[in-house]
């Protein structure tokens, strides 16, 4: 068990070093969720006056959307980096290592979960500075775990795309998956205020449960009723997308 853990640790460190080596590429991803939160709350803040909105602070309502965007960007970045490694031949050398491919996959995607915490922490600091209610320690821990889990799930999806197209030009495809999943939820308004089609999509979309789980501490109390569907949704996405990514990696070069 020690060997796989060391491999996963080394691959995670390599991915995280990238943030320090090429900060210009990482900074937009760190700033974007905060910019989105500030922008959306400035523009659509009046929406809280709609009957049935359920909260009086639109900023607190959209901060969790920024968290999920952080997860989405971090997951997509993992896929883009893998595509670059494939293009440059580094990934082929990695596949020659005497390490199970599942372990390699674990190393590739685990960096996404840590990477997602960077923009989320920045967003949280700005939000709290602007007066957003502190969600409590339990709310913060739960939000962090859900964000990390979602980042890994999006990373599995991005790895699938990278292994299929084997080029960085597929980056928009990697980004768009997470973008749709996060946006087509109750991101802007509670379910009862959404238009018919979006209400239906948001009910089917598992990320809606994740958003509710992350959001609960910011707009009210943390409850088990809102927590377990979020955990189950993340676990389900990890299981399905992880299995597909593992299958794709095992077939690579076969």
């Amino acid at each position: 068990m020690k060997g796989p853990a060391r491999v996963i640790g080394a691959l995670t460190r390599r991915a995280l070093h990238e943030i320090l080596r090429v900060p210009g590429a990482a900074i937009p991803g760190i700033l974007a969720p905060t910019i989105f939160m500030l922008g959306i709350s400035s523009v659509f803040g009046a929406a809280v006056h709609l009957p049935g909105f359920g909260t009086t602070d639109f900023r607190a309502f959209v901060v969790p959307v920024g968290f999920l965007q952080s997860a989405s960007f971090a997951g997509a970045a993992t896929g883009v980096n893998l595509a670059r490694d494939i293009e440059h031949g580094w990934f082929d050398r990695l596949l020659l290592c005497p390490t199970p491919r599942v372990v390699l996959l674990g190393g590739i995607v685990s960096s996404a979960s840590l990477r997602a915490l960077l923009p989320s922490s920045f967003l949280l600091a700005v939000a709290l500075g602007l007066g957003v209610r502190f969600p409590g320690l339990l709310g913060i821990i739960l939000a962090a775990l859900l964000v990390m889990g979602l980042a890994m799930a999006v990373a599995f999806y991005a790895v699938l795309i990278a292994l299929h197209f084997r080029t960085q030009q597929a980056a928009p495809l990697m980004q768009i998956g997470g973008f749709i999943l996060v946006l087509f939820t109750t991101s802007y308004a509670p379910q009862q205020l959404l238009t018919g089609w979006l209400r239906t999509v948001s009910r089917i979309n598992p990320v809606t449960h994740v958003l509710t789980g992350v959001r609960q501490g910011f707009v009210g109390d943390v409850t088990w009723t809102a927590t377990w569907p979020a955990i189950a949704s993340v676990a389900g996405m990890l299981l399905v997308l992880g299995a597909l990514a593992t299958r794709a990696l095992l077939r690579t070069g076969a």
Partner: protein
């Protein structure tokens, strides 16, 4: 000169058609955001202060999506030029016996064509999903005219950045800034409903007048005031940005 501009514009457009994955995000991301905004916030039309004569939130949001798409088009034009610099093609163009300014103008001519296509796409998308263009065909032509001029201006800003930064990833880094500038305008929501300080900034943000100029023919019949303000904002952005991109080209020529 004009033949060189046309040849370079055709080359840029061919590159776009060959690699649609570069152009797709320009319309895909704003389309998705348009869908999410309309799906999530269509009931905001009932808020006090929202213009009562607007047919629906989709009609109102179309101009925002067009503006967002045109801004992304500017970033895309900048990335294309930066990639030409990184790949050495730009230096070969400089060595060719052609007017240097044609290099910038050729790229901008292609950006104008793409901007027109973006406007047509969003108007078509809006009509398919039930939007109305109150001012009819003349209104659509006015939206296209403002969009084409503004798209050219955003393209010129992208080219200027590329000539200064010489790196595609740096130009790409401008992406979040695009949203900052757009969020502090009245593109997405009526100015009187924006929160402070966005409301105050929006008054001085040319993107507000640009978006309102494109929105007005969609939600009202043709009116001279917003149309002229939209054209003036688009023209002003284009004139200043083209002047800066030509200056950036001169600066780069001085370095080489």
């Amino acid at each position: 000169m004009s033949r060189t501009v046309l040849a370079l514009a055709r080359r840029a457009l061919r590159n776009v058609l060959r690699r649609p994955q570069f152009i797709a995000p320009l319309v895909v991301f704003p389309s998705l955001m348009l869908a999410a905004n309309v799906g999530g916030l269509s009931r905001t039309t009932s808020l006090p202060g929202f213009p009562s004569d607007v047919h629906g939130f989709l009609d109102f949001q179309l101009a925002a999506a067009i503006t967002q798409s045109l801004l992304l088009g500017g970033v895309s034009a900048g990335i294309a030029v930066a990639l030409e610099i990184e790949g050495g093609f730009f230096d070969r163009l400089l060595a060719a016996p052609i007017p240097r300014i044609a290099i910038v103008l050729g790229r901008l001519a292609a950006t104008t064509v793409i901007a027109l296509a973006q406007v047509v796409y969003f108007l078509g998308l809006g009509l398919v999903f039930g939007a109305h263009i109150k001012a009819g065909v003349p209104g659509a032509l006015l939206v296209a005219a403002i969009g084409a001029v503004a798209g050219t201006g955003f393209g010129a800003l992208g080219v200027m950045l590329a000539l200064r930064a010489k790196s595609a990833s740096t130009v790409q880094g401008i992406f979040p800034l695009v949203f900052v500038v757009l969020f502090v305008s009245s593109a997405f929501f009526p100015r009187q409903l924006l929160e402070s300080p966005a409301r105050q900034i929006a008054r001085y943000n040319p993107l507000s007048y640009l978006a309102d100029g494109m929105r007005d023919p969609i939600v009202h019949s043709l009116r001279a005031g917003p149309a002229l303000e939209g054209l003036a904002a688009a023209g002003g952005i284009a004139a200043v940005a083209i002047a800066f991109s030509v200056l950036a080209l001169r600066g780069r020529l001085g370095q080489t």
